[in-house]
Symmetry: C2
Subunit: 368 residues, 2 copies
Amino acid sequence: MKTFPRVGVIGSGQLAQMTLAPAAALGIELVTLANSSEDSAAQSSPHVVGDFKDIETVRKFAASCDVVTFEHELIPISIIRTLESEGVKFLPSSNAFQYSQDKALMRAKLSHLPNPKWQVVTEAPEWNYPAIAKSISGGYDGRGVWKVNSKAELIELLKEVPKILLEELIEFDFEIAVMVARSPHGQAATWAPTRTVQRDGICIETVTPVPEFSASQSEAAQNLALQIAEEIKLVGVMAVEIFVKGDELLINELALRPHNSGHWTIEGSVTSQFEQHLRAILDLPLGETSMVANWAVMGNILGGSKSDMYRPYLHLMARTPALKFHHYRKEVRPGRKIGHVTITGDNLVELRSEIDHALAYMSGEIDE
Amino acid sequence: MKTFPRVGVIGSGQLAQMTLAPAAALGIELVTLANSSEDSAAQSSPHVVGDFKDIETVRKFAASCDVVTFEHELIPISIIRTLESEGVKFLPSSNAFQYSQDKALMRAKLSHLPNPKWQVVTEAPEWNYPAIAKSISGGYDGRGVWKVNSKAELIELLKEVPKILLEELIEFDFEIAVMVARSPHGQAATWAPTRTVQRDGICIETVTPVPEFSASQSEAAQNLALQIAEEIKLVGVMAVEIFVKGDELLINELALRPHNSGHWTIEGSVTSQFEQHLRAILDLPLGETSMVANWAVMGNILGGSKSDMYRPYLHLMARTPALKFHHYRKEVRPGRKIGHVTITGDNLVELRSEIDHALAYMSGEIDE
């Protein structure tokens, strides 16, 4: 009698890779739809190689799974909707997942909540420039997002990208993210809000909980995430990226999947975002989300001048025995996220200093 | 340029399965030598199916690996020695691993340390009966160990098992285990000693740290484990099982591999025994072994009357959100270890009560 479910993941990168451990622990079979057998998760686990933009490939892949979920936002919503009508169980469902794919739809859906001013444009309007221009879908890590300083610049951009989500440029104090999980039964849970530190539009470091926050600000951010999860009928985990300006919390982006800003939960929380995502999509009761230490600091390792990442490990392991490594087994390319490191403990200044050193050392910026 | 190593594991059960996550995180390729593709680890990871008692099979398996290690003690030492002479790197090496396989050899090697009185016999001697009789190799979980109440009983046993390790029956207060790791460079680390609770010769629960221990007793137990690791030139992790009687610590058994009494380290320590084993055999600097909570309690789930283990999950997850599950994906048979659960926190009475409930519920002893 087969009672343990089989979960399919569209995508086979590091997010799928980090889902393998909780899947194994929970007795859940995981299979990924990979671009190639060299993808992070595919290197060591059951997978199918195929094109997620080809409906026949996805149909066949889904047929062997009890539930299908996502590691990225790139699969066409039309494929999800068609297969849903044939009985495939995608979670989150297309009705929720669309807000991860379509930034304009997300703004419209959540327009009663605090957003930057926004407008979908095909022609450059009179506006308070400089402003932020985003492609409606597909952008991440700084791609598909532009700062436009004038109407003239927007006119130029619209020649290349005919439809743009124009947003008010927020002079925020800092950015945070709140991870939230919700199950089909409506059980929901959040983790402590996370301060995200960006460089060139890419998150390089996270600190949890947000050092600048009072208890009531933390609660307000968590409540905002819970409210969004309920309104879009999220199933699974979601990152809500938020601008903080004084006491204001303004929604920046949603990602309806495990997210870089939640990587700290692997070591820093009783239940990781990856385990929680599985519990949520399988409608298992959600796990405890409290932290196991006062602070958790995570740093993204970006490809730099070192092509050999193994020897630098030795140095960092010897220097910082408490440092936890996550290697994505990707080819090193400058600026590419190829891994992350996490450390937990009591002294935030020391923890950040260890992470900063690790990032600089791995990227080749410093030699010792 | 391939710089990340490939590790082979002889055996593909739950210990190999739980090594997959740290291997992936560290970027290390792991391949197992499985009895069948249905083995715990083999179900979801790269493996070779073959007989570990066949030297040609092991030779071929080892040829693709940088280092070969063990999940169990069953591979003939002659195979290890022959392949070592051909240049295969087994870690721990045969010179250390023999003490895991041969209990008489272990007693002789460590005879200057506190042991129960012991003697290898082929004929029943005058002795202080009742005594413990053990087969020299191959026993575990209560198998290969007998209580003999009289010389007459030993004579009968020797007809079936012609060579016996006879040991003094220790009226111990309780049993503990200390996990210890050592690298080829001689770097060594221990974790907090663990109280093990047995039923019918099988460990059913562990509590870490040992509730009955003072700081100096903990230190004495850790020092004993470190001394043994050094003397046998351990590489990898090892469990030292110890009888505690008053202030005395008496060596019971050694297991030169990750061990059931160290499962709590997955959630309860900064570095798990599985990650540490990989670090040690690859001569990477060892990780921090401090605990992340005051207490860690682990319970072994033994097969009972419930053949469906998925539905009972729901109940326990709903009751105890902080409970962490480890399912071994084995066919349920009465008395067989099919998984374990761990919980960490501050209140030992509550933690033990949750684990006790979980074990009773999963085994079918209680229904709610």
